[in-house]
Amino acid sequence: MASRNTIVAHVEDRPGVLARVASLFRRRGFNIESLTVGHCEEPGLSRMTIVVDGDDHQVDQVCRQLFKLIDVVSVQDITYAPMVDRELALIKVSASNFNRREVLDMVEMFRADVVDVDADALIVQVLGDEGKVDAAVKMFEQFGILEMVRTGRVAMVRGTETTKPPAISDSQQAAAAIRAMLGRRPEGALPFASD
């Protein structure tokens, strides 16, 4: 069964690293729903949240192929982990004196914010998980959406657990940590078993 999966990757903050990741996805025929990249708590590393379509086997391949890139320091599939995921959307909604109140009611209902006002339009900022953003977009459509941008998903595992890459200089330990990270069954003793 195909579903949307969330992968977190830490990559070296170097020129070309995004091209490497994109090239890999294109070459292997993996389907990216969204990819966000930005700084993280460790200088020199960037953190990617990648949403991919695919079944378990495909997502497993994505992780393993991603990790083969030298600039990719760690890869974790957090689809099944308890996590918080958020997306931000800016929606330019058509709004005039006749219906501005209705638009604002809708903004309030979604606990969204108005970040720009013009005589004939508003920019609404919606923050939430994708379901909420989808719903907001659907409701604003009745007023006329002039333009829209969505950031794509960013995600973080709940609790004290992190997706931070192991800061290990010993190659053996690093290999063990990486092997523990890869694979879709975090509880299994054999993360590479696929039967």
Binding site: V11, E12, G16, A19, R20, S23, L24, R27, H57, D60, Q61, R64, Q65, F67, K68, L69, I70, D71, V72, V73, S74, P165, S169, S171, Q172, A174, A175, A176, I178, R179, L182, A189, L190, F192, A193, S194, D195
Partner: protein, 559 residues
Amino acid sequence: MRLTGARILMECLRAEGVEVFFGYPGGVVLPLYNTLGEYPDIKHVLVRHEQAAAHAADGYARVAGRTGVCLATSGPGATNLVTGITTAYMDSVPMVVLTGNVARDLIGRDGFQEADITGITLPITKHNYLLMRASEIAPAVKEAFHIASTGRKGPVLVDIPKDVFIEEAEWDGYPQGVSLRGYPIMDVPREEEVARAAETINAAKRPIVIAGHGVVQSEAQHELVEFAERSDTPVLTTLLGISGMPEDHELSYGFLGMHGHFYANMAADRADVVIGIGMRFDDRAMGRFSDFNPTAKIVHIDIDPAEIGKNFKTHAPVNGDVKETLSRLLPQIDRNSHPEWRSEIDEIMAQHPTDYIEEGTGLGGPWLVRALAEATNGEATIVTGVGQHQMWGAQYYPYTKARQWVTSGGLGTMGYEVPAAMGAQFAQQEPIWSICGDGGFQMTSQELQTVAEHNLPVRFAIFNNGFLGMVRQWQELFYANNYHSVDLGQPDFVKLAEAYGIRGVRATTRAEAMQVFRDLEGYDGPVVIDFQLEREENVWPMVPAGAALSETIESAEDL
């Protein structure tokens, strides 16, 4: 000490112990060529086309067991390397590829002979670098050699703009180590994975090993034999795994796949446990995936975690270096014997031998490879191109020493045979035998000049049937004899050799071929031999494209 980028690069190559590299000059690498004279210990071989530089470095790497190095200028020089880089990438051959690029301020401005070679080679290199400072050269070259030659080996490209060759930087010796956080060495397998593999293998009644290029690359021939003997497991190889298992061993059953031995294909298809070692369950080896031996449990040992579970569900995955893993696995393997299973395979072999040698006096591919094997005592290093001659070379020569067999498997690059044999000859004294197709030979025959220049004792044995033989075979069998664009004509290869000052000979009968082999004994220069083959011979057995291994056919009547 301050050195130019060009000198730093050469110091790095010297520190890596590079003895020979293959290159072709051009505008932006002139600063580098300007320093080559100061490094006479690093032999530069001038090829006649950049593609040949890459294939030569690849052939050298496979025979020497070391990292091959090649060099080209920017733009067309760099793009001409692409086929050679991809060939090495697909077959996991360690290679460091050096390219020049236009000066830094011209990059991205479509200057003369600019090509985005790091962009172009993203999907065909293990890693690549575009260096913007001379001070980056030493650490990058150190990393490049490290990445190319460890883990699953492969080509790494280092692109250096012209003015970076000229820029000076501090040189305080070659870096001692690398710091690559995203590239841990994964040689040592997890204990629990080894244990599970051992358990599966010990419980097997009809086990089979399929050994791949990884056995050759991690130099695990000895461990493989020990494993096979201890567990009494018949051993097959993939096309690239040939020479990883000595074929004179009683447990060796040759290679499997599209043109593998009938009995090898059947053994793989009837086994209860399939032990893949340093291989990747490629479609040409396994036939139609969905119908490959559905009841077999698969044990898969490979250095690359992404290969495990890629094409088949794996019962016992082991991520680790082949040699390292086998030596850890061995103590856990029970002494076993499978006489019934072995006699079952032996019986299939007796009934379906790969022995398509026809009576007569004319030259056929199988006969010729057998004759070559006899003439060379089965000890020659064989390099091939791609096609019928390659398959006959794989089927009929008895390989016993690792690295004795060099071929383009994954990419299937015609024209590989000439430059790869040339490069390989720099790794050994004994003459290399290059089994060439007449089609492939014509793709890269310009290298005869390089071969002549260095008086390399390569024997180019052209299996000349005037056809693009394998394509013709497919047109005959699967396109109702509708031959199109496969008749290559027959240039006079003897005269061509002589034009380069190389000894050229021709044989059209078996007697003449035997005479050629005798005449060449002790000759230490290059030779081109035009073996005129029967024109329409087919390679058997065969798994038709898209068929399963169990559907291997032995003649056109089986279709």
